[in-house]
């Protein structure tokens, strides 16, 4: 890359320091950060949660939270220091010279305003065009960002658009006034992998055609490999390494960068998984689940979603079966039907001679013991007002274990999942995300299950923590001879730990086979599209060959 040579700096951050309120875990959210943004270049800021990458971006826009204030340094843009602008000057820069797109397309748009009005506001804010021209421009912009049927999308409300379409609307708003700098704060994190690939391509294309400088914030090195010209790696508010994308990805010099890169689950085309030839522990036959809403005695037309349609698979003793798919594919509904958090409409779930799908009352309670679930969100899946020890021992006690015995077991489990025994008397909020997920695992193990259903169990975790939790799961599986159904949208994670993979689309299993076959010789077009959309895959394969 030779961008440094041909482009001059358009924005420079010099020794930026952003102070956190007293009582935070460290004094500065951003500490002595210096960066340069050049026209026509994409700079990726990479780091795990809490590294200060978003705070740096918000400081540029003057959008820091109330108690977080810049305490040193400069952000120089076009002869101005952005940190010392008056409110009026700042409003002039926002949207017009520097635009920003955000992580969550679901909440980044006002739910009560039509799309065209929200785009028109950008022109209105800077006193440009007539109201009629603004709306016409809105449709042009929607066309440019590739929304199908732009005229119709313009008059739609945000809830009528998909996640990817909403993100395109946000991008259209950011592009409206041809800004010099575009800040993108994790713009693809909330999107499905195929949508993510499209949005990344769109941002890269627009950056080229408009010649903008893009500051792209992400936690995902795969995304970095796809679009970055230069990379800055942040940890605890400091930049630990920066350089061209090639240099940082291929020859990282800092330990933290190396650790982060090593933690990414690799797509190894040569990996061979020993086929598991054990006997079947769980068999799913013709499982079907349909959601109906609306309708009823007085309601209007009924809405029907075929979440799970005729799903069949078997799970061997000691096997890990991955269920992968995008949002709405029905993978979580399958998981919920397996543990009967939802009742399937038809089909069987055969476990130890019983059909779990048809059990009720005492028999169901007994069978549930053997099939336990680990949930996605380590923050909302633990009762915040219950001590960890109680959370873990609640299940066994409900199944008739003496409390004193259950408590002792809970302490042992805490040690098993790598936490200290003293965690027993603490509350969930005292733990980090990764630690909470360990508590979730301990809770699932407390009932001594034979099968564990892990529903996006590592999706909310930073990559280094994710690697630790995956290792823990693999180790426990081995030690306790567990069988695992691993539900995930992340194909890298699936490739790392699954023996076989079932790919789901629109409620159906479109492909099921050994992991290396699914990845190396996908039979369905959908699987192929999913695999090709994995960020950073092409670069990784290139490097491996």
């Amino acid at each position: 890359m030779t961008f440094q040579d041909k482009a001059s700096p358009i924005l420079t951050i010099e020794n930026l320091q952003v102070a956190l309120p007293e009582g935070a875990d460290r004094p500065f959210a951003v500490d002595d950060v210096s960066l340069t943004l050049r026209a026509g270049e994409i700079l990726c800021i990479v780091g795990e949660s809490g590294s200060g990458k978003s705070m740096s971006a918000n400081a540029m826009m003057g959008l820091l939270p109330d108690l977080v204030v810049p305490s040193g340094g400069k952000i120089m843009f076009d002869g101005m220091d952005l940190l010392t602008l008056s409110n009026a000057e700042r409003m002039e820069v926002r949207g017009k010279r520097i635009a920003m797109i955000f992580q969550e397309p679901m909440s980044a748009l006002n739910p009560l305003m039509r799309v065209e009005d929200q785009i028109a506001e950008v022109f209105e804010a800077h006193g440009l065009l007539t109201p009629k021209e603004r709306k016409a421009r809105a449709v042009e912009l929607l066309t440019e960002v590739g929304i199908p049927d732009p005229a119709k999308a313009a008059t739609a409300y945000p809830f009528q658009l998909s996640g990817g379409q909403r993100q395109r609307v946000v991008i259209a708003m950011a592009l409206a006034l041809e800004p010099d700098v575009l800040i993108a704060d994790e713009p693809t994190t909330a999107l499905d992998v195929t949508t993510q690939a499209q949005i990344l391509e769109l941002i890269a294309d627009l950056q080229k055609s408009h010649g903008m400088a893009v500051m792209f914030i992400t936690h995902d090195f795969g995304v970095v490999a796809e679009i970055a010209d230069r990379v800055a790696v942040m940890q605890f508010g400091k930049i630990v390494e920066q350089g061209t994308a090639d240099d940082v990805l291929k020859n990282p010099t800092h330990d933290y960068t190396r650790k982060l890169l090593a933690a990414i689950p690799k797509l190894d085309p040569n990996a061979v998984f020993e086929p598991i030839k054990s006997k079947t522990i769980l068999e799913v036959i013709a499982l079907t689940k349909t959601y109906r809403s609306g309708g009823g005695l007085f309601g209007g037309p009924e809405r029907v979603v075929h979440a799970v349609q005729d799903v069949n698979f078997r799970l061997g003793v000691g096997e890990t079966l991955g269920v992968v798919g995008e949002s709405g594919s029905g993978k979580s509904s399958v998981g919920r039907c397996l543990v009967r958090l939802q009742d399937p409409d038809s089909g069987s779930v055969l476990f130890a001679g019983d059909d779990m799908a048809k059990l009720s009352g005492e028999n169901l309670r007994a069978a549930r013991k053997s099939v336990q679930m680990i949930f996605q969100d380590p923050f909302s899946s633990l009762n915040p007002r219950t001590k960890v020890g109680k959370i873990i021992s609640e299940g066994p006690i409900a199944h008739g274990v003496k409390p004193s015995v259950a408590y002792e077991k809970a302490r042992e489990l805490l040690e098993l999942v790598g936490l200290d025994k003293s965690a027993f008397d603490r509350f969930p909020h005292e733990f980090s995300g990764g630690q909470r997920q360990r508590i979730g695992i301990a809770r699932a193990l407390a009932l001594e299950p034979k099968v564990i259903i892990a529903d996006e169990a590592v999706s909310a975790l930073d990559v280094s923590i994710q690697a630790q939790v995956l290792d823990l799961l693999a180790e426990l599986k081995e030690r306790l001879n567990l069988s695992l159904v691993f539900i995930t949208h992340d194909l890298r994670v699936a490739a790392k730990i699954c023996d076989r993979i079932a790919v789901m689309q629109k409620g159906r299993v479109v492909e099921l086979g050994p992991t290396q076959d699914v990845f190396n010789a996908p039979k369905s077009d959908y699987t192929r599209a999913l695999i090709e959309a994995i960020p950073g895959r092409a670069q990784e394969l290139e490097a491996a060959s």
């Binding site: 826009m61 959008l63 409110n87 409003m91 002039e92 820069v93 926002r94 949207g95 017009k96 635009a99 920003m100 955000f102 969550e104 909440s107 980044a108 748009l109 006002n110 739910p111 009560l112 305003m113 506001e121 950008v122 209105e124 804010a125 800077h126 409300y157 809830f159 009528q160 946000v170 708003m173 950011a174 609306g294 007085f298 209007g300």
Partner: protein, 322 residues
């Protein structure tokens, strides 16, 4: 939309019949009946007289027959006859309705407008002294018993300062006509409407403030700031509209109770409204009047629920679609 309204009206009719039936049995379950009360007051509580009265009022028939008669009357919009007042119930309610609506509606508007305004102001100045003052004053009105505020208002503004009349709907024997009469009624309205309005204002104020603060932390507000919009526009267009959703719910609930009247306020200010009619009818076991008042207020609750739901659809496109 029309289909939605028709469906809701149909459902409302069923609910209304259920409410009337339930009220009917509840009232008859209470000890005493109008005959007993009237005979007691006349000092002639012998069995034969009571029997005569009950026959005259139709109270001697089996309960289910009475219910059937009452319901068939309701279907023909006949709310029955008050033997106590010697007038059709519908006329009694109709006479009192304007006074009650005037009082409760004025109070409703005062509370909604002032409460929302105060809530917006407080939220814009959160943590500053003006927020503290607004919140404290609002809380004071809410925490103080309504009748005490009413009595103090009468003492201060009517008795001490002699600025405003302290009771009644208009000046007795004033015989005003035209504009002079309107002015007279308006003067009588000030104290009861303010008393009632300030009480509910606190609720709207607190809800608006909390809702505005919650919405202002949402992502789309950040998007609006990133566009370079002025704070005033963000406040109005993005925060306020979204923050109004819970306030609309509350307003709908309160508006439904407008006809039920304000028993305490009407009693303290001797306001000739439905609240007092109901209170008197209760003491006299005037079944038909009670049932009639309940019927009309239940119908109003249902109507305003419907209006709230329609408003919701206007305000929030997501509900329109579902």
């Amino acid at each position: 939309m029309l289909r939605f309204i028709a469906m809701r009206l149909f459902k409302a009719a069923i609910i209304l019949i259920a409410i009337v039936t339930l009220n009917f049995f509840l009232i008859h379950a209470a000890p005493g009946d109008p005959a007993a009360v009237m005979a007691g007051e006349a000092g002639a509580a012998d069995e034969i007289f009571l029997q005569q009265l009950r026959e005259q009022f139709g109270l001697d028939k089996p309960l289910l027959t009475q219910l059937g008669l009452y319901l068939s009357g309701i279907l023909q919009l006949d709310l029955g006859f008050s033997y106590r007042q010697q007038m059709p119930v519908a006329d009694l309610i109709w006479d009192r309705l304007p006074a009650t609506l005037l009082l409760t509606f004025t109070a409703f508007v005062i509370s909604l407008v002032l409460g929302t305004l105060a809530g917006v102001l407080a939220s814009a100045r959160v943590g500053k002294w003006s927020d503290t003052i607004i919140s404290t004053v609002a809380l004071l009105f809410y925490a103080t018993p309504l009748y005490w505020i009413a009595l103090m208002a009468v003492l201060l503004f009517s008795v001490q300062l002699n600025w405003l009349p302290g009771f009644g709907y208009e000046t007795v024997g004033g015989n005003f006509t035209g504009f002079a009469r309107l002015l007279d009624i308006a003067q009588h309205l000030v104290l009861p409407a303010l008393t009632l309005g300030l009480f509910f204002m606190a609720v709207y104020m607190r809800m608006t403030r909390a809702s505005m603060l919650e919405v202002s932390t949402m992502d789309f507000v950040k998007t609006a700031k990133a566009k370079g919009l002025k704070p005033g526009i963000i406040q109005r267009r993005h925060i306020f509209r979204n923050a109004m959703l819970p306030v609309v719910t509350l307003a709908g609930l309160q508006a439904g109770q407008l006809v039920g009247g304000a028993v305490l306020t009407e009693t303290v200010f001797a306001w000739p409204g439905i609240g007092r009619l109901m209170f008197d009818a209760l003491a006299q076991r005037d079944y038909n009047v009670l049932l009639g008042v309940f019927f009309v207020s239940a119908a109003m609750v249902l109507v305003f629920n419907l209006i709230t739901d329609i408003l919701y659809r206007v305000v929030d496109p997501r509900i329109r679609a579902s």
